[in-house]
């Protein structure tokens, strides 16, 4: 019966209750969509970074990480790659010979990272081949081919079929030059990456700088899903424990390779929750106010209930139920609409092209496909319930303070 009373009291002032419910609905839609956008944006960035740039896990000689010198090779890179391929959930492995270099054309020069790869292996590890906008991807039939980013092509003012001159240190420490033929131009969502990464075959690069053609200073590993990252990293650490312990090998997952990216993900997550709490906390004041008004209007009625023998516990229950109904209806409607909207935007995406230029340069794509974790919905419900309970306290205090004898006398 208390439930019926609380529920029906909610609809005594339909307009007032509806306004609060609508405010909660809108607030929750705002918070959820904001989280959907942020999470989608960062996850896309992470996915793109994994697919195009860092893979899930990379192996290096620790020395290499300091200044990308090719002399810090990984011992028996090819044999290691074969062993890694046997690990569960490893999708593909690419052994790279990578180093810092200068690229130049007839017109200009630029500092780059040159990636010597085995085209077939690289094809399986990285999505770069999907981002070729002109020409073709590397293959073994071409003569000293190179694939470069659009940004670099622009800077050097070269295109497909043009020559790219690369200057770098060879195995003896001498500066050496080589010419590559640009066969393809790619464009990812990360312009910084596009500006500095050049892909050539490992064989050509090894020949140029005097290493065996199977040498590698980077092993990139792609997993079936990035939820296996931890497990596979652990397995690799046991597999190569001797070299890891003697500091000849370092195994890093994507979040260690790009800690900034990882902290961005955490930050966005944190902001989503912060935003949610701020929105709901603001609405809590509206709920407090509504409940207080409702109590004041019902002073005589509540006085009557206390006179008749309704005890404090039941008064508390009634007020709390009323506040919960008021808060939860709006919240549930808001969640329902949010879920539908997130569903739609997770498929169709939201294109904020007008801001995209800025986003692209830091590696974010302009169309964002929304994602919301189940925990976020869950947290929303919990926070709404907790705040509703808090919001009912002032109204409760007021109701409990009523003296029935005086409350009943009160005039309208």
């Amino acid at each position: 019966m208390l439930r019926a009373i609380a529920w029906r009291n909610l609809w005594r002032n339909k307009l007032r209750s509806s306004i609060i419910m609508a405010a909660l609905t809108i607030g929750i839609i705002g918070a959820v969509e904001m989280d959907g956008y942020m999470t989608g944006l960062t996850n896309q960035r992470v996915d793109a970074a994994i697919a195009n740039e860092v893979s899930d896990i990379q192996l290096h000689n620790p020395g290499f990480l300091l200044n990308q010198e090719t002399k810090y090779l990984i011992p028996h890179a090819g044999k290691k790659a074969d062993e890694i391929r046997k690990i569960a959930n490893v999708k593909a492995v690419s052994v790279r010979l990578k180093g810092a270099a200068m690229a130049s054309s007839a017109n200009a020069g630029a500092g780059i990272s040159i990636n010597g790869v085995v085209p077939d292996d690289e094809y399986r590890v990285s999505d770069l081949h999907d981002h070729i906008i002109e020409g073709t991807y590397l293959n073994n039939k071409q003569k000293i081919p190179a694939v470069i980013g659009q940004k670099l092509a622009k800077k050097l003012n070269i295109g497909v079929s043009d020559k790219l001159i690369v200057t770098m240190t060879d195995s003896t420490g001498t500066i050496t030059n080589g010419a590559f033929l640009v066969v393809g131009i790619y464009k990812t969502s990360n312009t910084d990456f596009d500006k500095s990464n050049v892909f050539v075959t490992r064989k050509d690069l090894a020949n140029l700088i005097g290493y065996p053609t199977n040498a590698g200073d980077e092993i990139a590993i792609l997993l079936n899903s990035n939820q296996h990252t931890k497990a596979v990293t652990k397995k690799l650490n046991t597999l190569f424990s001797a070299e890891v312990k003697s500091h000849k090998l370092i195994i890093q997952s994507w979040d260690q390779i790009q800690p900034l990216l990882k902290s961005m993900v955490d930050m966005m997550n944190y902001f989503s929750y912060l935003f949610l709490i701020i929105v709901l906390a603001a609405l809590t004041f509206a709920i407090i106010n509504t409940m207080l008004m409702s109590m004041m209007e019902r002073t005589r009625e509540i006085g009557m209930l206390i006179a008749l023998g309704m005890n404090k516990r039941k008064i508390v229950r009634m007020v709390m139920l009323e506040t919960l109904f008021l808060s939860i209806i709006g919240a549930l409607v808001g969640l329902a609409i949010s879920i539908l909207l997130v569903d739609y935007l997770s498929i169709h995406g939201l294109d904020l092209s007008s801001f995209a230029k800025g986003l692209n340069s830091i590696g974010y794509s302009s169309t964002v496909y929304f994602q919301v974790n189940r925990e976020f919905y869950f947290t929303t419900v919990i926070v709404v319930v907790l705040l509703a309970i808090l919001a009912s306290i002032p109204a409760m205090m007021r109701a409990l303070k009523l003296q029935p004898a005086t409350a009943i006398r009160e005039e309208d």
Binding site: M1, A4, R300, E301, M304, A307, L308, G309, M310
Partner: protein
């Protein structure tokens, strides 16, 4: 034993500039089955006295015994429970919970008393029939006339099987026809269930029905008359 006995009851309000002795030394006994009116001019202390007799307010001085219980000895929570289980109320107006139907309103106190549902429904049916509202059980209070609302309040009070019913000017908002009907009803119920009624009133017609009239002025009982009706 009397169901109510007051011993030297005083109520002084200090909230005003000059303290008001709203009830000024009342010694009173009320027996089971009485049908008693408290009359007196406005401000004479009728409401104040009834509030103390019903445990809504405590005396400044003196004691009120309901059978063996001294109301002064109860905490505010105990007082609420005491009212719930021992006292029925019919107020001047706004007796009913507007969001509940007539039936639910009549059930409400029994619900608080944890009377089983089946028993509740039995009493509701019987009493709403007895007060002549049996055909309007699913109405909301706002769909009833003032007189009908008061009758529902009487039914609700009776349904909770109280030791006595306190009614402060129950007819003040009613026209003369409804007043007579309500009085007739209360008198009937008093006879049928032997329930004690104590009401405050200005209304001559109410006084004409009462079997005992306590006249109060300046918080003191001036006259205590019994009538055989």
């Amino acid at each position: 034993m009397s169901i109510i006995e007051t011993k030297g009851v005083y109520k002084t309000y200090n909230t005003t500039k000059v303290p008001v002795n709203a009830v000024n030394g009342v010694d009173l006994k009320i027996e089971e089955g009485e049908f008693t009116a408290i009359v007196g001019p406005s401000g004479s202390g009728k409401t104040t006295l009834l509030n103390m007799l019903s445990g809504l307010d405590l005396p400044t001085r003196g004691d009120i015994f309901i059978e063996n219980t001294n109301l002064k000895g109860l905490s505010s929570s105990q007082l609420i429970d005491f009212r719930l289980n021992n006292i029925g109320f019919v107020f001047q107006a706004y007796n009913l919970i507007p969001v509940l139907t007539v039936k639910e309103n009549t059930e409400f106190i029994m619900f608080l008393q944890k009377v089983p549902k089946r028993e509740r429904q039995k009493r509701v049916k019987e009493l709403l029939g007895a007060v002549g509202i049996g055909d309007k059980m699913d109405y909301k209070p706002s769909q009833l006339s003032g007189g009908q609302q008061q009758r529902v309040a009487v039914a609700r009070a009776l349904a909770s099987r109280p030791k006595y019913i306190i009614a402060d000017e129950p007819t003040a908002n009613l026209d003369s026809v409804s007043t007579s009907e309500l009085l007739e009803l209360m008198a009937q119920m008093n006879k049928k269930y032997n329930t004690t009624f104590i009401f405050a009133t200005h209304d001559q017609r109410v006084m004409d029905k009462a079997r005992r009239i306590l006249t109060i002025e300046d918080g003191k009982i001036l006259k205590d008359e019994q009538f055989d009706r």
